[in-house]
């Protein structure tokens, strides 16, 4: 007798039961904090955690780790899908990355035992296998009551001594996309790149707790809004309007970076039109030595078309820092911006440049300095803000850089700032435009200090003319302390060629990372 082929085999029956159970559990996990909470976010125009992961990763590439994880507290098991933090591995523009995305709809994405284990796993795998780590921050902080009492503390905190250790083996990129307190904030400020969406808040703890602690009403935006972190703390490298823009910014940042510290950054095709503004670049520089201009026009003209990605644009604005490409290769650009404070470097600019030096050196990114500074800001306010310490942190960082350093003096380079901006052997090659002027102090001051003459005194103008001649680039070039005097229009070609000359051939583009354990903020 023929066997009935429509009857499922015992194995098929078992498979169907398993599939059904699996699908039920999966759907439960994917339901996150429930339809109502998700609908409220959508109405507010904010992506949920899974939408964020989908937007960030190449289609279909996300492999989740811990989909079926829940709170370790049995009472919360049914209401804690993925324990409020979604983790896994995805490809971002073709390259693998580990991702942690906070799901605020599940218990406020608060930190607990299980999701702490998930974060630890992502960090461990990303570091050991050499891929970037991305944090999408939005968390109410430590979960209550789990953390309460000495037993709670002993169970949940301090069991991983390396939890907040950074040795910069892999790039970390983060976004603050909502209310972010506790460890979500810690990971953001420890990252190499941190983007904030307007409306988000990054702080140690919530405004409610802050109000209880100091007995006054605290406005969340004042406590940790984008303006504070973009302009005052410098913790935000970039501020954007939407979740999508924030995730695009992370993609863009990572595209400049290697996957880990033991490889050179990726190379991209040179966009058409790169360098087209070079014949007219001198138009960016005023004829008068005392007039200001925006150095970012010069940067954008020199580097590959549309490749300049400025970091911390609203903080320490006297110093411009940003990633870019030259001939398709990633470079870090550090420039003085005379548009702000005449280019005189202040404490915020020192901190900003120091952190950028650490970033570039840790990830094998050659550095280009464009110099036009009358010196450091001096005076009582600068001293109160610890200017000597900040200037020397900057200087020490510069001396520990092991990636190629090329400096070009556009106009002014005076005093100690001459050294901080790569003067002498503080860069591998020092070039200058014929418009450069280099000395210890501005000639107007020097005539007073050296000759004791005021502008109204007889002989002042003659001495000033003498000083001005002595500050021209030709004298320093004659003793090979400036190696090249270049015409402004040749700057891009000079840098392209010099980057090739200074390629780290012996180590395949990899530096020594002497600042890998430096602070994550200054």
């Amino acid at each position: 007798m023929d066997k009935d082929t429509t009857e499922p085999s015992p194995a098929q029956t078992r498979q169907a039961r398993l599939d059904e159970d699996y699908a039920r559990r999966r759907d439960q996990a994917l339901a996150m904090g429930g339809a109502e909470k998700l609908a409220r976010r959508k109405a507010a125009g904010v992506l949920d955690a899974r939408e964020r992961v989908d937007y960030l990763c190449d289609a279909g590439s996300f492999l989740e780790s811990g989909l079926f994880s829940t709170s370790a507290n049995p009472a919360d098991r049914e209401r804690s899908p993925a324990d409020g933090k979604i983790a896994g591995f995805g490809r971002i523009q073709g390259r693998d990355a580990a991702i942690v995305a906070n799901d605020f709809t599940v218990m406020g994405a608060s930190s607990g035992a299980t999701n702490g284990r998930k974060i630890g796993h992502m960090k461990r795998v990303a570091t050991q296998r050499g891929m970037p780590l991305v944090f999408l921050g939005e968390s109410s902080g430590a979960r209550m009551p789990d953390h309460m009492g000495s037993r709670g503390m002993g169970t949940l905190l301090g069991n991983d001594g390396a939890q907040y250790q950074r040795l910069r083996e892999i790039p970390w990129a983060s976004a603050t996309l909502g209310l972010s307190y506790g460890s979500s904030s810690w990971y953001s400020v420890m990252s190499d790149f941190h983007v904030m969406r307007k409306g988000a808040v990054l702080a140690v703890s919530s405004s409610l707790l802050a109000s209880l602690a100091i007995r006054e009403e605290v406005d969340p935006q004042e406590l940790g809004g984008w303006r504070l972190h973009a302009e005052t703390t410098g913790f935000a490298d970039l501020v954007v309007d939407t979740d999508e823009e924030a995730l695009d910014a992370i993609k863009r940042f990572l595209d400049y970076l290697p996957s880990h510290h033991n490889e050179a950054p990726p190379t991209r095709a040179v966009p058409a039109g790169s360098g087209r503004g070079m014949p007219n670049i001198l138009e960016c520089l005023p004829a008068s030595r005392t007039q200001v201009y925006d150095v970012r026009k010069i940067i954008r003209t020199v580097v590959d078309e549309d490749s300049f990605f400025e970091l911390k644009a609203r903080f320490g604005k006297v110093g411009v820092t940003g990633l870019a490409r030259l001939g398709g290769k990633t470079i870090g650009v550090i420039a003085n911006n005379p548009l702000v404070k005449g280019g005189a470097l202040d404490v915020d600019a020192c901190e900003k440049i120091t952190s950028f030096l650490v970033l570039c050196d840790s990830f094998n990114i050659p550095l280009i300095f464009l110099v036009d500074t009358p010196g450091f800001v001096i005076g009582t306010e600068a001293e109160r803000r610890r200017a000597p310490g900040k200037i020397m942190n900057f200087m020490n960082a510069l001396s520990l850089v092991t990636v190629p350093k090329l400096s070009v003096v556009l106009r002014k380079s005076y005093g100690q700032a001459y050294l901080n901006m790569g003067g002498g052997r503080n860069s591998d090659e020092m070039a200058a435009w014929p418009t450069a002027e280099i000395s210890f102090m501005d000639p107007q001051f020097a005539v007073k200090v050296v000759h004791g003459l005021e502008p109204s005194d007889e002989g002042f103008e003659a001495r000033l003319a003498e000083m001005n001649r002595g500050n021209e680039v030709w004298d320093i070039a004659s003793i090979h302390a400036v190696q090249s005097v270049i015409r402004p229009q040749d700057t891009r070609d000079y840098l392209l060629r010099m980057l090739e000359v200074h390629e780290l051939r012996l180590t395949r583009g990899v530096g020594q990372h002497l600042m890998r354990a430096w602070p994550t903020s200054f």
């Binding site: 008068s288 404070k341 005449g342 010196g375 800001v377």
Partner: protein, 71 residues
Amino acid sequence: MMDLKAEVTGSVWKILATPGQTLEAGEVVMILESMKMEIPVVAEHGGELVEVCVTETDAVAEGQVLARIKL
């Protein structure tokens, strides 16, 4: 009302606008001198210049209010 503040310590070199004048966003109200550089003080937003709080050659400190604009 919006205060225009000195971004740097220095002195007032030239005042280019007068009270009552309507300012466009980006217009230079005065020029400071600091570190032998000319530092323009720019109206971030357009409005009426209500008051100029300094005179030429005055020494100014970082953060000092230089002028007030009614938005």
